[in-house]
Amino acid sequence: MNPQNLSIPILVPFLLALISFLLPARIKWLRETVAVLGAAAIVYIAVTFFGQKETFYVLPWLGHGIDFELRLYQFSQFILLAVSGFVFLITLYSTVRMAGDPRIREYYGYLFLTAAMASGAVLANNFVPLVFFWEGLLITLYALITIGGKKNSHRTAVKSFLIGGFCDFCLILGIAILWSQTGTLRMSDISVVPQGLTAVSFYLMMIGAIGKAGSMPFHTWIPDAAVDAPVAVMAYIPAALEKLLGIYLLARICLDLFKLEVNSQFSLVLMTVGALTIVLAVFMALIQKDLKKLLSYHAVSQVGYMMLGIGTAVPIGIAGGIFHMINHAMYKSGLFLAAGSVEQQTGTTELKKLGGLYRVMPLTTLGFVICAAAISGIWPLNGFVSKEMVFHGSYETGYTIFTIAAWLGAILTFASFLKAGHSVFFGPRSQEIGEVKESRSPIYIPILALAGLCVLFGVYNQLPLKLFIQPILAGHAAAGEHIDFTAHALAVFNPIALISLGCLLLALGLHVFGFRRGGNKAYMASEPIHRLPILHTLYDWAEARVFDLYEQGIKFLQALSQFLFKFVDRPIDFFYEKIVVAVGRAATNVLKAAHNGFYANYLAWSIGGLVLIVWAIGALLR
């Protein structure tokens, strides 16, 4: 394909963004038509790009190895396709969900700008353009969160910006170290064994990648944004795009840029962070009382599986991690969209206030149930397949503890979705909400489309694995040799799969137990775990944001600034405000008294001055 065409996936969304910014707010139908057709065009472009041969496009830029270079190959084709799919579905969804928003112009503008930046980040083959697009995403995210227009939207946007900024700073630092060590910024030229400084670089870049994906401890803005940002933005960015990009970069780091050995320290660190993210986030998700917040914690927890999978450095694990990335993007986006559909119709996402919606919103319910089943890893949906691959991968490394952590995560995931689905869609019809109808087609079509893909990717799992995942790994000789996806018998009947299914049964038991104990109220089903002795205290702390590094950091900085203010700034200020002013005033008063307006006085100064000057000149001439 013509190398120049590589810039099309960046330029087209950028152009659409410009049009959206410029179109007057009043012409509603035109904007929506342009947006949907434009998004369709983006999908078309991504489809035509898919399956193309590897292509490079180089535009000399700043010199010193800093060029605007794009690279289209299996991995970027795949991510491009996924991104464009989400752009289309979210645009369709937004035509109804975001209609009438006062900042609708900006909304579409930033939506497409995000798409342009994401395409750029995926296609970039030089670290500098990569960082450029990566940072651009931070700005559009900030803007999109503020469009939520809630009381704390700006605060949350700043929070996301600062956390993202920190992670990106680490990324840039890592890149700089890598540059100094390898001497090149071309991503496809770099392949090093991490040791010494490059090991530092690996960790820094890893922070950049997993920070974007929303892993612990860089996740804390996501639950806040679930409340403060528009739900379409949640489905678009934290649920889909950031996972795609973050895990894409993580995979690039672990597969190409650095050579990751099985069970090396790097692999262990990554797996540990992954396992901790799975478990801790799912514990938080379990007790949430709000559907969107619950989903957002799951968006964090699921990242753990991807990191765990990639961190194993075992082919099946890596494949599972990447497969899980695309699966998660689909069902989590679907879940958020379903939550948005419920919110649109009932005005709330609080579990307590909802119930029995399946009668009035059957299509939303269907979509939600399929996506929830997929995320919980129920056979034969896609979540089951990718999780199995991760379980197998982690089991192969010999560190069973990670597998156990993953299983624990699976139990609690299912339990929390039983609780959520039960509270919202089943059980008795809640009295607190009035008449409810099914949402309009632009809302449920994206949900059902995503749910359908979840089924497709699960039942015919060989299709995506062969079409998408295998080519990606095939590009990486080290990790990709002979992956036989059937060898692990991704069927139900092997010990690991049976244990997984047992976990699901356990989760069901937990739910039923909690449901009974909570007086047959579904939203109380997680209370038995919530009230466990030590957990309870930890939960209270977590609710008080004790573990939120960002909030703690802010508190620390505030205390520090208070300290500096009182003990450093004030004394300095006292010096300027009191002492300097007093000296200045005193001098001024003397001068004022001297300038008393008497002519004789002034004449005397002049004569005195003359005498002094003549004397001085005489003395100096000597």
């Binding site: 200045g584 001024t588 307006g597 004449l603 002049s606 001055g609 000149i617 100096l620």
Partner: protein, 493 residues
């Protein structure tokens, strides 16, 4: 051709009172502005190419017979001409509206034109006696202009100004007489060569002292500054702008520097005295300005302080010091006249000059407040405005000349400048609008036009300062760096 700089304003000054009989406002306004615009354009388009290859001398003829009047146009004098014309143009523009309520516009313009003719003559002349002559022409016009309002204060201030100026004239004349007696000549060339042959450094030192007192009084250098805070605020605002903006520089700084640098030659003794006086002026002016409540008095004291910077720059005696001093002289002409014009606008709108009584005027007079902010920030030396660069050049020159303590003091003086200008801006324009001024109106069109023009010049000069230095300041600084040799070159004429 150079004579036009003196003849045109003089001719018009003569015509003005007659024109005033025909048309009270329109013709005087038009002609005065046209004259200034012409002089401005003339200095840029015609005079500038004339000195492309160094200074020129032109001789006056009377029916074919040469007269003993020679005008010298070089980089330094052209730079001064340009500055005078620029400020005068802004001032006449401003006067269209401002002088309405004073009446007698024709007489006002006539005096102003005489003053400008005097200043132009002063910067163009090439002998000591004509310096004295044009000095008096400009000064007499300025006495009348200070007293133009004819109130009690104006007359008192004008009288005080006259009396101290008389002392200055006496000192200058005495010094010129001594030099004439020693060298037998008055033109720069003759005097310079005469002094070179005689070994009389103490007498020259004494004459330098007299000149320092005389021109120091004109330039308001501490301790000869005391008349200025009375005289400048009393005049009508455009005249204050003229006096503080250009007159003190032309009749004080220019004359002094021309004589010290091109005729006497700068000695280390003079360098020391000038820098010390400069620093003293900076601090006395700045600290006294801090205590003022009258906006125009504050500006007047500030002039003393800023002239201190100019003198300091010249006093260093290095080429960079000259550039810094010249640039600051030019910048000060821009922003000090701007600030005086703004003070006049405020006074006209509110009827008061007391900072205590103002407050929040920015809401009612946004243009005045904005241009005043530009002027204040420029004079306080905030980058990237013009005042920053000139002060920076002076400070760099000081450091290069190993006068680090003076450099530190100059920075400190700049801080005090910022201090009282913030006080001024805050008390006059920012903060809550004083209820009394609820119905105050923005200044009329031509007044605003003049201030906006000057404010824009402040900004533009700051932004393109390398160009300004290259095309206007460098030739002037070259003349100053040339020293006595410059005057000796013109002996043959």
């Amino acid at each position: 051709m150079i004579f036009l700089f003196i003849i045109i304003p003089l001719l018009l000054a003569g015509l003005m009172p007659l024109l005033g009989k025909i048309s009270k406002r329109f013709l005087p306004d038009l002609l005065a502005n046209a004259t200034m615009l012409f002089l401005l354009v003339f200095s840029v388009l015609s005079a500038k190419p004339l000195i492309a290859h160094g200074g020129v001398i032109q001789q006056a003829f009377w029916f074919g017979a040469p007269l003993n009047i020679r005008l010298l146009l070089d980089g330094f004098s052209l730079f001064m001409l340009f500055t005078i014309s620029l400020v005068s143009f802004a001032v006449t523009l401003y006067s269209i509206n401002y002088m309405e309520h004073y009446g007698a516009k024709a007489n006002y313009y006539a005096l102003l034109l005489v003053m400008i003719a005097g200043m132009n003559g002063l910067v163009l002349t090439s002998d000591l006696f004509n310096i004295y002559l044009f000095l008096e022409v400009a000064a007499v016009a300025s006495y009348a202009l200070v007293a133009f309002g004819q109130g009690h204060d104006e007359l008192e201030a004008s009288f005080k100004y006259l009396m101290l100026s008389a002392v200055a004239s006496a000192a200058i004349l005495l010094s010129i007489a001594v030099i004439f007696g020693l060298t037998g000549g008055l033109s720069f060339g003759t005097v310079a060569s005469g002094l070179k042959m005689l070994n009389i450094k103490y007498v020259v030192g004494f004459c330098s002292g007299l000149f320092l007192m005389g021109f120091g009084l004109k330039a308001a250098i501490v301790p000869f500054h005391s008349w200025l805070p009375d005289a400048h605020p009393s005049a009508p605002a455009p005249i204050s702008a003229m006096l503080s903006g250009v007159l003190i520089k032309v009749s004080g700084v220019y004359a002094m520097m021309r004589i010290f640098l091109n005729v006497f030659g700068l000695t280390p003794a003079l360098t020391t005295v000038l820098t010390v006086l400069g620093i003293a002026s900076i601090f006395v002016g700045a600290l006294a300005a801090l205590g003022q409540n009258d906006i125009k008095r504050m500006l007047a004291y500030s002039s003393i302080s800023q002239i201190g910077y100019v003198i300091l720059g010249f006093g260093i005696g290095t080429p960079l010091g000259f550039i810094g001093g010249l640039f600051h002289l030019f910048n000060h002409a821009l922003f000090k006249s701007l600030l005086f014009l703004n003070a006049g606008a405020v006074e006209q709108s509110t009827g008061t000059r007391s900072l205590d009584k103002m407050g929040g005027l920015a809401k009612r007079m946004p243009l005045t407040a904005a241009t005043s902010a530009v002027g204040s920030l420029s004079i306080a030396g905030v980058p990237p405005l013009n005042g920053f660069w000139s002060k920076l050049l002076i400070i760099i020159a000081l450091v290069q000349a190993k006068m680090v303590i003076l450099a530190v003091l100059a920075v400190l003086g700049s801080v005090i400048t910022l201090w009282y200008y913030l006080v001024l801006q805050h008390n006059a324009f920012f903060g809550k609008l004083n209820e009394t001024w609820k119905s105050v109106r923005e200044a009329p069109f031509w007044m605003s036009a003049a201030t906006v023009l000057l404010a824009l010049l402040c900004i533009v000069t700051g932004l393109v300062f390398p160009m300004v230095i290259h095309s206007w300041l460098q030739p002037a600084a070259d003349v100053l760096s040339g020293g006595v040799a410059v005057a000796l070159n013109f002996i043959g004429f």
